[in-house]
């Protein structure tokens, strides 16, 4: 293993990719012995499987592996199952993609608070792109009285018609994709982790719904499906990815993924595209010519709750 790792570091990108795939397979061989043990717990588990879910209890989904332990064949089966289930329930054809982090890329967000006018266009675009029900949003826009930077003084329930209001500025908050992320640290089962490109993701099929990450997050970025999300079949975004915007089940956590289904394919996140004022900037911090790199160099940027040392990758600035 250690030899593999040193090789991995010294070779070029495509080889690195192949090797990481290979070590993934090795890992899978190692964990095979687990399936024997799993038989023992299956019977008991059948008894506690949630009743009334769309799909009846199936051994296939019960024993589904953690995303990072799946082989390409496993993934194919799992994605097909997801497609089948959505077809059955909503009568829609969806595609389930699985874009990998691009090496040499680390995503960073920058938001110009001088421009944000509190229209919440980002919020609705995000809900649409990421298949969120109307009562859940990854972005919370705070109406902040001028003179304070303390987010606890913000009001998220402001009426949207007459923005911006005199004497206020608007502060959108979403997942900060922290370098030192408390949510991934506390998860008891590694159901949430930080990817190589800096994006914090959740394996919705692994999460047990203990909500410890929610208690740990200082930005209210994590959201729990207290019930089955209510979605309108006609407006579901059928272009879905496993780790981001596919339809979630009840009882699991979810959060902003920087629209990885778009950004890893070279597009901007939905919130950025929907922003009417151009306040939102997104890009690769490893590229010195990128817009975000320039902003971080030239503006006095700041992050929320810097004192907790979560090291957010979401920066704010005024200009």
């Amino acid at each position: 293993m250690s030899e593999n790792r040193t090789k991995e570091q010294s070779t070029n990108r495509s080889l690195e990719h192949r090797l990481s795939e290979k070590s993934g397979q090795l890992l899978n061989q190692k964990v095979k012995r687990r399936s024997f043990l799993k038989g023992a717990v299956a019977a008991g588990a059948a008894a506690v499987a949630p009743m009334g879910t769309a799909s009846a209890f199936s051994f296939e989904s019960f024993f589904q592996k953690h995303y990072r332990e799946m082989t390409p064949e496993d993934k194919k089966k799992v994605f097909a199952r997801i497609q089948r289930e959505l077809k059955k329930e909503y009568e829609i054809e969806v595609s389930i993609s699985d874009p990998a982090p691009i090496s040499g890329v680390k995503f960073v967000y920058a938001l110009n608070l001088s421009k944000c006018n509190g229209s919440r266009k980002c919020v609705t675009a995000c809900q649409q792109e990421n298949n969120l029900p109307a009562d859940m949003a990854y972005i919370t826009v705070l109406e902040m009285p001028r003179g304070t930077m303390n987010v606890e003084k913000g009001n998220r329930y402001y009426k949207g018609e007459s923005v911006p209001k005199e004497g206020n500025y608007y502060l959108p908050v979403q997942c900060n994709h922290c370098e030192n992320s408390p949510c991934t640290k506390v998860c008891p089962i590694e159901a949430t982790w930080k990817e190589k490109d800096g994006i914090v993701v959740v394996d919705y099929d692994w999460c047990i719904g203990c909500r410890y990450c929610m208690a740990a997050c200082p930005y209210e970025a994590r959201h729990f499906n207290f019930k089955k999300p209510k979605l309108d079949a006609s407006t579901i975004n059928t272009s879905q990815s496993y780790l981001s915007n596919r339809v979630r089940s009840k009882g699991v956590m979810e959060k902003c993924t920087f629209c990885l289904q778009r950004t890893r394919e070279g597009s901007y996140p939905a919130c950025l595209e929907a922003c009417p004022t151009g306040a939102r900037k997104f890009g690769n911090i490893y590229d010195p010519e990128s817009e975000v790199s320039q902003i971080l160099k030239q503006k006095s940027v700041f992050v929320l709750k810097e004192e907790i040392n979560t090291v957010p990758q979401f920066f704010y600035y005024f200009d």
């Binding site: 687990r34 043990l37 799993k38 717990v41 588990a45 506690v48 499987a49 949630p50 009743m51 009334g52 209890f57 019960f62 953690h66 919370t140 705070l142 303390n150 987010v151 606890e152 003084k153 913000g154 998220r156 908050v173 408390p182 640290k185 506390v186 998860c187 008891p188 089962i189 590694e190 159901a191 692994w206 999460c207 047990i208 719904g209 203990c210 909500r211 410890y212 929610m214 208690a215 740990a216 997050c217 200082p218 930005y219 209210e220 959201h223 729990f224 499906n225 207290f226 019930k227 089955k228 089940s249 009840k250 009882g251 699991v252 709750k305 907790i308 040392n309 979560t310």
Partner: protein, 401 residues
Amino acid sequence: MARYIRFWLNMFKESFSGSKTYYLWVGVLTALLLPGIYSYYLQLSQGLVVTNMVDQVSWGAYIANFTFLVGVAAAAVLLVVPAYIYHRDDVKEIVLLGEILAFCAMLMCLLFIAVDLGRPDRFWHIIPFIGRLNFPQSILAWDVIVLNGYLLLNMHIPGYLLYKLYRGEQPTRRYYMPFVIISIFWAVSIHTVTAFLYSGLGGRPFWNTSLMAPRFLISAFAAGPALLIIIFYLINRFHPYFRVKESVSKLLITIASVTMPINLFLLGSEVFKEFYTNSSHVASAQYLFLGLHGHSTLVPYIWTAIAFNIISTIIFVTPVLRSKTSWLLGGCLLSILGIWTEKGMGLIIPGFIPSPLGDVVEYTPSIHEFFICLAIWAFGALSYTVISKVAISIVSGRLKE
């Protein structure tokens, strides 16, 4: 093997023999399980939406009760140490009742965690080596290990001793003493780890205090003896022949008369730090003790709890009062209720209010949460009644091979 199976059959039979009072008590507890089972069925089919928890207040009555019960389990050590280390014969006679209490409290803790999960069907993900336990990073992973470990320890020790007594054999020291020693440290660890669960979160200033673990232990060693005193009183009152010696209660009173004032002192230290500093982090404490922006659901509860704790402390430190049974039992009850409120809802809920982005959303348990909590408490009381009844029959030689 056949002998061992017969041992279990005999114990099973024994659990069904008893007086009318016993049957009535067991019947009432069983009846209390039913609404909870129905509510949990609803929770399974509809999701945690049947509770009053929301994104802002994401833990509620389940986790509050869990926290309190970890303390009850840890308190068993107060009998284990005098019995096994200081060889107090009077305590040795009843130490099994303490270990069984720890076992039952642990069962209740695990049930409270189980009902709090959004996807209980995926429980196998937390089993070490089979799932993907995030050890040693996640304190919750530590909790999984220490709680289940403590459950096993308190299953093995009384289980082994009872089996030997039942067969009329002398127990082999090396089959239980090492575990007894481990369980003493383990008892401290379960409540420490549970405190670290909260105090390790930088984003929740109300919980982010180094006093959390000491407060948890001290309050456990105050409410624990109070609960044991009540249990021993009930056994002496209702059990046909078994009597717990009065000197055991005396020992527990002595312990509680030290821990109760310390518990108040630690509470005072927290209150001072919050309100004298008066930083923006005072908001949660303000919500709890005074109310915040017109929201004050918890205020009457916390002041009642503090009043209960003060009254029970006065009773416990005043010899004239604590020597009267009715005063003593009243003091025990007030202490349990006070500490249950203070370190249950009084600790968990303000941690979420105001939310990290300043939202104030109040929480009171829903009817379903109430029934599920009640059912788990009833289940705990039921298992404790049945197991300790059988244990007493074995200890007193009425049930043997």
